[in-house]
């Protein structure tokens, strides 16, 4: 009998311990459409690499869910003169290597960002970072710049002691940025983030383990993340439905309903900030230089219908670049589908009989890209514009896009600065090879007023004034029908119900997995 009791209590103890650990230390099996291409956050500026950076590194400040900024490694900041912003760093923050975070790391990181091919454009306004003392650092810009804090979300301090010196394996410096070959930084990391990379088989799986000395105690309870890339959407969904993984992103539009209806799963969607547009090349087609023709096409395109029917409600119809929440979002601009008005405009422009033109679109870059382009072709035929469409995979598309081989070209854009001016700089300003402005303006729309206002907005540090300028640019683009805006693609995440998924996601699509709590 005694033995029996001992045994029973042993079993009980073991179950309790097992149960206890499952509450405190949880493993997250995560499936994304791709895995990080490198462990070096500066090797590529892409959503995937930024998602990785938020797991293994910490930025100075980060976006909160409502679009505001939260202090992370910088506890507070102040502008000390028009071109200098001072950041006070948190004390006692440890890197994964054990080194302590200091102002020198920020100096090192900014210098490295300016060397990175992908980031140097983004940081061109910054001249340098200067260490004031061990935990205070000044970011200095060339001229007054309204987006210093937005850019600070991209500064994920790297451990400069860890990344300095010569690497044995290739005889190069450890901090060198190499895209296509071995480099120390591509295969080793030391950040301050909530997770350390403990195992990585590229394209197969990456294992992250919670960093024991993480500075922020008020975060989630995930002790380990196993990230598997599953590129096929149906397989990704099946993996979640069968319980093989706990969290997937993105969820394909065709399976949203199914995930939503499944017990034990939660689906979180959000209107995104990537605008999808068609650009009408005025240099190739004299017709498109006529604002009336462009307006007619904008009136003839039913973006509400496309969002509902083709995108299955998984998109927000757009009439401008800036999504809601951006400084430049102009609430007065609404989708304007009106076929009668479109026909009238074509008549006024003298193209009552229509004309024919060519168009290209990618078929694996944006959600339903080829289908949307086909719908556009049908809609344009209603105003007698005969469009010959060619779609192709993204690997081939961008060369064709750059060469401007067709009269109408599709492009989607996400603003890296989370700010409206970025759209204008790349998509709507007059193309200029010298400055790189209008680099993705294949419509060749050129309006000096738009250029002037965009540059003025970049130098304006008063947010209220800036917002007025940016909104007026959207108005000009809308009135001119500078391009055809389609919609903002929605974002989606799905996970098991026992976690606070809703709280960690945001419109940038950088889930803060460090804050994830699994019950």
């Amino acid at each position: 009998m005694k033995r029996m009791i001992v045994r029973l209590s042993l079993v009980l103890a073991v179950t309790l311990v097992a149960w206890g650990t499952s509450v405190n230390a949880a493993t997250l099996k995560l499936a994304m459409d791709a895995d990080p291409v490198s462990l070096d956050p500066h090797v590529q500026l892409s959503a995937g690499m930024l998602q990785y950076a938020h797991m293994v590194f910490d930025p100075l400040v980060r976006w909160s869910k409502d679009g505001g900024l939260e202090p992370r490694l910088a506890e507070k900041w102040e502008q000390i003169n028009p071109t200098t912003t001072r950041f006070y760093l948190r004390k006692g923050v440890k890197f994964h290597s054990g080194n302590e975070l200091s102002a020198d790391d920020v100096v090192f990181t900014l210098a490295r960002l300016k060397k990175s091919e992908d980031y140097k454009g983004l940081f061109e306004y910054f001249t340098e970072a200067k260490a004031v003392d061990s935990h205070t650092v000044d970011l200095i810009t060339r001229e007054p710049y309204g987006l210093v804090l937005a850019m600070a979300t991209y500064i994920f301090p790297l451990d400069h002691k860890f990344y300095s010196g010569k690497d044995e394996q290739n005889g190069k410096m450890k901090d060198v940025i190499i895209k296509t070959d071995y480099s120390f930084a591509n295969f080793n990391e030391s950040g301050t983030g909530p997770f350390k990379v403990t195992g990585r088989e590229q394209g197969v799986k990456t294992t992250f383990v919670r960093f024991g000395d993480y500075w922020d105690p008020n975060t989630g309870n995930v002790s380990e993340i196993i990230l598997t890339p599953i590129s096929e959407p149906p397989t990704r969904v099946a993996a979640l439905l069968s319980g093989d993984v706990d969290f997937i992103m993105p969820v394909p539009p065709t399976d949203l309903e199914r995930v939503k209806k499944t017990d034990g799963l939660q689906l979180v969607t959000m209107s995104g900030s990537r605008i999808i547009t068609f650009q009408l090349n005025q240099k190739r087609r004299p017709e498109f230089a006529n604002a009336k023709v462009r307006q007619a096409m904008a009136y003839a395109y039913n973006n509400v219908g496309v969002a509902k029917k083709i995108m299955k409600g998984f998109a927000t119809p757009a009439a401008q670049n800036s999504p809601r929440g951006y400084q430049g979002h102009n609430a007065a601009l609404q989708p304007r589908y009106d076929l009668a008005r479109a026909k009238e405009l074509m008549k006024e422009a003298g193209y009552e009989k229509g004309f024919s033109c060519t168009m290209i679109a990618p078929n694996n870059r944006y959600v339903n890209d080829a289908k949307i382009a086909q719908a556009f072709v049908t809609m344009m035929s209603k105003i007698k514009i005969k469009v010959t469409l060619k779609t192709m995979p993204k690997a081939q598309y961008w060369d064709q896009y750059d060469a401007q081989v067709a009269d109408i070209q599709m492009i989607g854009w996400h603003s890296d600065t989370e700010d409206s001016a970025n759209f204008f700089e790349y998509l709507n300003m007059c193309p200029d090879k010298e400055t790189g402005r209008g680099q993705y303006n294949s419509g060749n729309y050129c309006n000096p007023e738009v250029d002037r206002l965009t540059l003025a907005a970049n130098g304006e540090t008063d947010n209220a004034k800036r917002s007025v300028m940016l909104r007026s640019i959207e108005q000009i683009l809308f009135d001119d029908a500078a391009f055809i805006p389609l919609h903002w693609q929605n974002l989606s995440w799905a996970s098991k119900k026992n976690m606070n998924t809703e709280e960690i996601i945001n419109v940038m699509n950088f889930p803060y997995f460090g804050d994830l709590n699994i019950q």
């Binding site: 291409v37 490198s38 590529q44 500026l45 892409s46 091919e117 992908d118 454009g121 983004l122 190499i178 895209k179 296509t180 070959d181 071995y182 480099s183 591509n186 088989e201 590229q202 394209g203 197969v204 799986k205 598997t228 890339p229 599953i230 590129s231 096929e232 149906p234 397989t235 099946a238 993996a239 439905l241 069968s242 319980g243 093989d244 694996n364 995979p393 993204k394 690997a395 081939q396 598309y397 961008w398 060369d399 750059d402 854009w413 890296d416 790349y426 790189g436 680099q439 993705y440």
Partner: protein
């Protein structure tokens, strides 16, 4: 035998040269690898610089010559995406694909032979008709559909089998990651192999059935019956052996095709082998990896066909291998 081997090696080299030339000449149509390496903000000038550094701007023959020269030294180039030599990437991925093909072939052989024989011997029985009916469905269903159906039935609805990946693997001989030795690995292997075998299995059942039926009508079988041999001996020894000849010929070619079909199966099951690696390398325009995959698969084709020719001689001594006088 020696002459045969020499001739085969020479043929193999020629085939692979042609394959590499074709692979190399189409690689430009897959787009610019640099695009996949950089973010959207990078200017055309900077992209041009990267292309120069990677030697992508050199004339076609210069690039091809460079490729051949290092290929002779066993270096097929570097994968931009994996940041490693291509041979290393392919060697790491090959075990997954080969194990998958091996298991699928095993399923095909173990099932098609008894089912084919049975339906040839008893063509009118209900079971035979059922086998034929199901095989029609199997042969007309695309692999990816079979694969997705399997996932939905066995992973999502029943929850019996894992839906993706290879599971737990064991490293053998220091480089071969095998999923055949762990229970978890085998569980992961089951559905992909069934899906992959689903295209070949019906084909083989039908092939064996029709060949066998034909053989059963021949004079020597009739003579065997007349001699009063036991049915088993007539069916399984005398008739079946002669059925095998065409089956082996087709089998050799089909095994190669099976390697090609792994592309679909691996993509659906997120099976980390050469097939999914190839599709991804096409999407990323990772050209060195793409061309090398084509060359390696070409090599496998040549090797398999050579083996088939050898086995042919063993099964039927009257067939003389070309080159043996």
């Amino acid at each position: 035998m020696f002459a045969f081997t020499v001739r085969r090696v020479a043929q193999a080299v020629l085939v692979m040269l042609i394959i590499s030339l074709i692979g190399f000449s189409i690689k430009h149509n897959f787009g610019d690898p640099v695009r996949e390496l950089v973010g959207e903000r990078v200017t055309p000038q900077e992209r041009q610089q990267i292309r120069d550094q990677l030697g992508l701007n050199d004339p076609f023959m210069v690039q091809y010559g460079r490729f051949l020269k290092s290929a002779v030294h066993g270096d097929l180039g570097r994968s931009f995406f994996f940041k490693k030599p291509v041979t290393e990437v392919i060697l790491a991925k090959a075990p997954a694909t080969l194990e998958l093909v091996f298991c699928a072939s095993l399923i095909v052989i173990l099932l098609s032979v008894p089912l084919g024989i049975y339906s040839a011997i008893h063509p009118r029985r209900l079971l035979s008709r059922l086998i034929m009916g199901v095989s029609i469905v199997g042969v007309s269903m695309p692999v990816f559909l079979t694969a997705i159906l399997l996932i939905y039935i066995f992973s999502v609805e029943l929850g019996w089998l894992p839906s993706f990946g290879r599971g737990e693997t064991v490293q053998l001989f220091g480089f071969w990651d095998s999923g055949l030795l762990t229970r978890d690995g085998l569980r992961h292997l089951l559905m992909p192999s069934v899906a992959l075998s689903s295209i070949m299995l019906p084909l083989f059942i039908r092939l064996i059935r029709s060949e066998m039926m034909e053989v059963l009508e021949t004079e020597y079988v009739k003579f065997a019956w007349a001699k009063g041999l036991r049915p088993r001996r007539v069916w399984y020894v005398h008739a079946f052996k002669n059925t095998l000849l065409p089956v082996i010929t087709v089998g050799g070619v089909q095994l190669g095709i099976m390697v090609a079909f792994t592309i679909l199966t691996e993509t659906v099951f997120q099976w980390q082998g050469m097939g999914s690696m190839f599709i991804e390398s096409v999407e990323r325009a990772d050209t060195a990896l793409m061309v090398s995959y084509i060359v390696v698969v070409g090599f496998i084709f040549v090797v398999v066909n050579t083996l088939v020719d050898l086995i042919y001689g063993l099964v039927n001594p009257t067939v003389r291998i070309a080159g043996r006088k």
